[in-house]
Symmetry: C2
């Protein structure tokens, strides 16, 4: 499984036929991306496009000249971040203590997700149908993370009856609570609770059920 490469942003933007964007167009494009980063980071994908345009000091028309769709703009903001997460997960698979590596990563992910609501929405969309490329990326991330999980399970540190998808659900859930309140390090603690619950040898609660 390979993560498809994306053009590594920035630097003068080239058109398909080797010509460059006009100077004002390049400047506006960057402004729009910065504004989107800020606005979507704060309010998530539910923020109105007009707000991004206003923040960028640009008309909506201009925004749509650069990005064919709100979703495309959102992706432009978020795909790189997702790739970074995937890379980090893949790197952690080398780490010593498999169990703690897994939990550390969950914690780190939770922190970024609480800080940047666009990331949250991108990962939360993974469950939904959606046509976005963010969903694909979220799937990759899930697979990378699942390697961490499996290693932790093999090492005997993590229970094996909870799928990676379910773990993501728990972590996202812990973070979604955080989203509406006066943020602090609450998310950290809640994810800590989730991690403790994922450890082996603690299931005194009934785990089987009738029907």
């Amino acid at each position: 499984m390979q993560v498809p490469q994306r053009d590594a942003a920035e630097t003068p933007i080239e058109l398909a036929d080797h010509r460059q964007l006009r100077a004002d167009a390049q400047r506006n494009r960057r402004r729009i991306l910065e504004a989107a980063e800020e606005v979507f980071g704060r309010d998530g994908i539910s923020a109105p496009v007009d707000l991004v345009a206003e923040r960028a000091g640009v008309g909506v028309g201009t925004l749509y000249r650069h990005f064919p769709t709100k979703e495309a703009l959102f992706e432009a903001i978020v795909l790189d971040k997702l790739d970074d997460l995937i890379a980090a997960a893949d790197a952690d698979v080398e780490k010593g203590d498999a169990t703690e590596a897994f939990f550390d990563f969950l914690l780190r992910m939770a922190e970024e997700v609480t800080l940047k609501h666009d990331l949250f929405d991108a990962l939360a969309a993974a469950g939904i149908d959606f046509k976005s490329r963010c969903v694909d990326r979220a799937q990759y991330l899930k697979q990378s993370l699942d390697r961490l999980r499996q290693r932790a399970v093999d090492a005997g540190g993590v229970r094996d009856d909870v799928t990676m998808e379910q773990v993501m659900g728990l972590v996202m859930g812990a973070c979604s609570f955080e989203r509406s309140g006066v943020s602090d390090d609450v998310a950290r603690r809640l994810v800590g609770v989730v991690c403790d619950g994922l450890r082996t040898g603690r299931s005194t609660h009934q785990s089987s059920n009738g029907a």
Copy 2:
């Protein structure tokens, strides 16, 4: 702390001046409530009002004659259910094993919430500002639940560094994951994980942090 009493639904509806609603009005009112129960239960409060009216075989105008606002209709559906939960929590405070009583209740709550999305939305709204009476009710529930929690903490079964609000966040989070998928007993398992994480003597993860 007392839970304010609500008129116990059903039976011929009386107007303020001791006169009764017309027969067709009573029939429609009931139909609307049934439809709302079904529609809001399936899609949560985000379901359009028109859908409820259609399901009830009634015009929107009629719906609004009976309930001044969508929110009022939603409340009419959900407040009783919330009161039932509160009563159940208050009853469980008598139970023998404080810790298991607490966890059992969380599990039961999770089951109802995954089954009925209107309940989920009502409880999820508790964090938000909102003006709804559902929020008040959710607060009552939280207080009742906190008594269960405190008892479990005192009994030494549950960690004391997580507030009831945070526990609710975790449980809601575990359930919100469930909402989009092919439902099974996943919620049960996830809440089980959360409960295990809430038990004492398991925090090998760092719990303090700088700043």
